[in-house]
């Protein structure tokens, strides 16, 4: 289903250096940015974790899920339900529980869904996510269409997450941990098996691999990581509503992964940042000759996406890899 050469598992060395520099910039950002922008970058990092989780499913295993946001949202809701109205909940109990909730949901839906292929897989993942969406949307007891507010950030005892800078660094730590974990996973036997499934599932089966179990594992793991992102999102914004599990959110995740470049998790991070940034820029466009460009940001976004698919299917990382490779560096 996906062309094997569209994946960027290894990168030229100088590109790796550039990425390390970007990470350094990220570490130093709170010293130069205003509160509003520190929060915005925190949000981008959370979305980057979300994008990486989808990259595991899509870029590595080749499963295109249009319903990944369901696992993102469920963890946020778990935090919302666990946090009492008048005081915070412990980070150390709520985080594992929320991630477990997402993983469980992913396991259950994955079991039904992983047996389908191609277009079917895309559509059933979307449909199941919609089901979860409506479960929350229609029921006042679960917050309904108005969502639930989380009045306190989780209590981490050793450090104070209510402090925006502390939260920022906590998010960086999560981002780094997930990245390292996934990179190691990519090169582990399990990861290699997943890549093999993406390239040719029949061959893998013929070689004796239980592809159903592998795919289900990947699906569940991806769901759990999406849950981590959802938990952080809920903690950061203090508000969870069904739209976070909706179709648009899932589609955004796919776009972030494609924009950045699939297969190498740094691409997902770049994609998340770039996508949010582009969105921010489009929304803030000024009025030109009486025509409010910012109001019609969806048009620019749509055209941008179309252009992306037509001209840069390997995403930003793919473009950069081409530039850096052509200057003589060995990958």
């Amino acid at each position: 289903m996906s062309a094997p050469q569209s994946h960027l598992e290894t990168l030229p060395r100088s590109l790796n250096v550039l990425l390390a520099l970007c990470f350094l910039a990220l570490l130093l950002f709170p010293f130069v940015g205003t509160d509003f922008y520190v929060q915005m970058v925190s949000r981008m990092m959370i979305l980057a974790i979300f994008a990486m989780s989808l990259d595991l499913l899509q870029g590595v295993t080749g499963l295109v899920s249009l319903g990944h946001a369901a696992y993102f949202g469920v963890a946020g809701y778990a935090l919302a339900f666990l946090t009492p109205a008048g005081e915070p909940i412990s980070l150390y109990t709520s985080l594992p529980l929320a991630v477990a909730a997402s993983a469980l949901l992913a396991l259950m839906i994955g079991f039904l869904v992983v047996r389908t292929h191609g277009i079917y897989f895309i559509m059933v993942t979307m449909a199941f996510a919609q089901m979860v969406f409506y479960l929350f949307f229609d029921n006042k007891a679960l917050g309904g269409s108005d969502g639930i507010y989380i009045n306190f950030k989780p209590d981490a005892k050793l450090f104070n997450l209510e402090n925006k800078h502390v939260f920022y660094y906590f998010t960086i730590a999560c981002l780094l941990a997930v990245y390292i974990f996934l990179r190691r996973l990519l090169w582990s036997p399990f990861g290699r098996a997943l890549a093999g499934i993406r390239v040719n599932e029949h061959r893998m089966r013929a070689l004796g691999f239980d592809t159903f179990a592998h795919k289900l594992c990947a699906f569940t793991l991806a769901g759990a990581l999406a849950g981590l992102a959802g938990y952080l999102w809920g903690a950061q914004t203090g508000y969870i509503n069904p739209e976070l599990m909706g179709f648009h959110m899932s589609a955004h995740a796919i776009m972030m992964v494609i924009l950045g470049g699939m297969g190498h998790f740094a691409g997902a991070i770049i994609g998340a940042f770039s996508f949010e940034y582009v969105l921010h820029v489009f929304k803030d466009l000024p009025e030109v000759a009486g025509f409010n460009l910012g109001k019609h940001w969806q048009l620019w976004m749509g055209l941008f996406i179309v252009a992306l698919v037509v001209f840069a299917p390997r995403g930003i990382l793919g473009l950069l890899a081409k530039i850096f490779k052509s200057n003589g560096d060995a990958p």
Partner: protein, 397 residues
């Protein structure tokens, strides 16, 4: 070490330029003070509630321009954010105005779900916040704050005045129908309280997801239940559709139709004959025969070449309140205690009639009983005088 080849340098330079150009790295001290007062509007400029957002902004600007175009003697710098009526982006959008643009006053919004996000940001930041529409109870009850003022209504105010009017007309058995979201639920609270207190019985409570307008199945259900009347809450053009579908299902004339006044606000032309005879309760009516209302409607129509509705009036009153408050402190928006006191004790000479602030910062106002006749909402009486929102659970200072 080998110098970086040109293209890599270009990429790095470009990235750095891009980042600084869009102000991502601009530190706080660089945002200079200009002496202008920064007013932020967070309203729906796209989607189904866009006309309401426009009407509210028009009202605000009209009021301020009538006062000389300045607030407390200071020029105004406007900031606008389209909240898209999307609750999931409520906090983010409010922060764009409060944290990024550093507004002195935040005016917003229409959708109650989005309002909760604004409320959170307002309480955390202490910015003066004026609510020109969203009637969510919490904003002037459990989550009230000294810096938050509402110039519109609370969701149950219009329906608190509806129950008695219905029972007086002999309609003792009713079905309630609305959207299943905060505004619908809270409107029901008011209806339930007033209707049962007056001796009415609610046969069934029907709901559909917001903003669904497929009423057919539920209209069939209503016909089977055969109540004396139907009471409802729908806002915007969906109200017109409901009235039209109600008539098309043959229920008009057999079952009386009542509603919270938003049902017939601004949509009478679109609804046509289906709206004739529908009775509603609201804190305003275009046909209010007072010199104040007439002057306002003329001024609005001349300036914006459109007829004002209740949303425009609410926007107008927001402008009036803001102007009065800032005049009392000579434009010093940081003199918070004096500013808030001035706003709390303000008497707003509104096109809807004079009103004052309740202790929890919600309007204490008359609710009119209106009937839709010949394309306008004719006032046939006052359904409730000086109705105040109870402000349950509000703890301020």
């Amino acid at each position: 070490m080998k110098p970086l080849p040109t293209s890599r340098r270009a990429v790095l330079k470009g990235a750095l330029a891009g980042v600084t150009a869009t102000g991502l790295a601009v530190p706080e001290w660089a945002l200079a003070q200009t002496g202008k007062i920064r007013v932020g509007l967070m309203l729906p400029y796209s989607g189904a509630f866009a006309p309401l957002g426009v009407a509210i902004e028009n009202g605000v600007r009209l009021a301020i321009n009538e006062q000389g175009g300045k607030l407390g003697g200071r020029e105004i710098e406007w900031f606008k954010v389209d909240d898209e009526s999307d609750p999931s982006k409520g906090i983010e959008n409010a922060n764009k105005l409060v944290q990024r643009d550093k507004v002195d006053v935040l005016i917003g919004t229409v959708h109650s779900g989005v309002q909760m996000g604004i409320q959170k940001v307002a309480r955390d930041s202490g910015v003066l916040t004026l609510i020109p529409n969203a009637g969510i109870h919490a904003a002037t009850r459990a989550l009230c704050a000294p810096n938050v003022f509402r110039t519109s209504f609370s969701n149950s105010q219009p329906t608190l005045a509806l129950g008695e009017a219905m029972v007086k007309r002999g309609h003792k058995k009713a079905v309630w129908i609305t959207w299943k979201y905060a505004a619908g639920d809270e409107a029901f609270e008011g209806f339930k309280e007033s209707y049962t207190k007056a001796g009415g019985t609610i046969v069934k409570e029907l709901g559909l997801p917001f903003p669904n307008v497929e009423f057919q199945a539920l209209l069939t259900e209503i016909a089977a239940l055969k109540p004396d009347a139907v009471a409802c809450f729908f806002a915007g053009p969906s109200g017109a559709k409901f009235m039209k579908d109600f008539a098309a299902a043959g229920l008009k004339g057999k079952i009386a139709l009542y509603g919270s006044g938003f049902l017939t606000e601004g949509v009478l032309e679109a609804a046509g004959p289906a709206a004739e005879g529908v009775m509603t309760t609201l804190h305003y009516s275009d046909s209010l025969d007072t010199p104040r209302n007439k002057a306002f409607r003329l001024a609005y129509a001349k300036t914006f070449r459109a007829q004002p509705d209740v949303y425009a009036v609410q926007g107008y009153d927001t402008g009036l309140l803001l102007a009065q408050g800032l005049k009392a402190v000579n434009g010093d928006v940081n003199a918070k205690p004096a500013l808030f006191k001035a706003m709390e004790s303000a008497v707003i000479d509104s096109p809807r009639g004079k009103w004052t602030m309740s202790p929890s910062h919600n309007p204490v106002q008359d609710i009119y009983l209106r009937v839709a006749e010949n394309g306008e909402n004719k006032v046939i009486g006052v359904a409730a005088k000086a109705l105040a929102d109870p402000g349950t659970g509000c703890r301020m200072g």
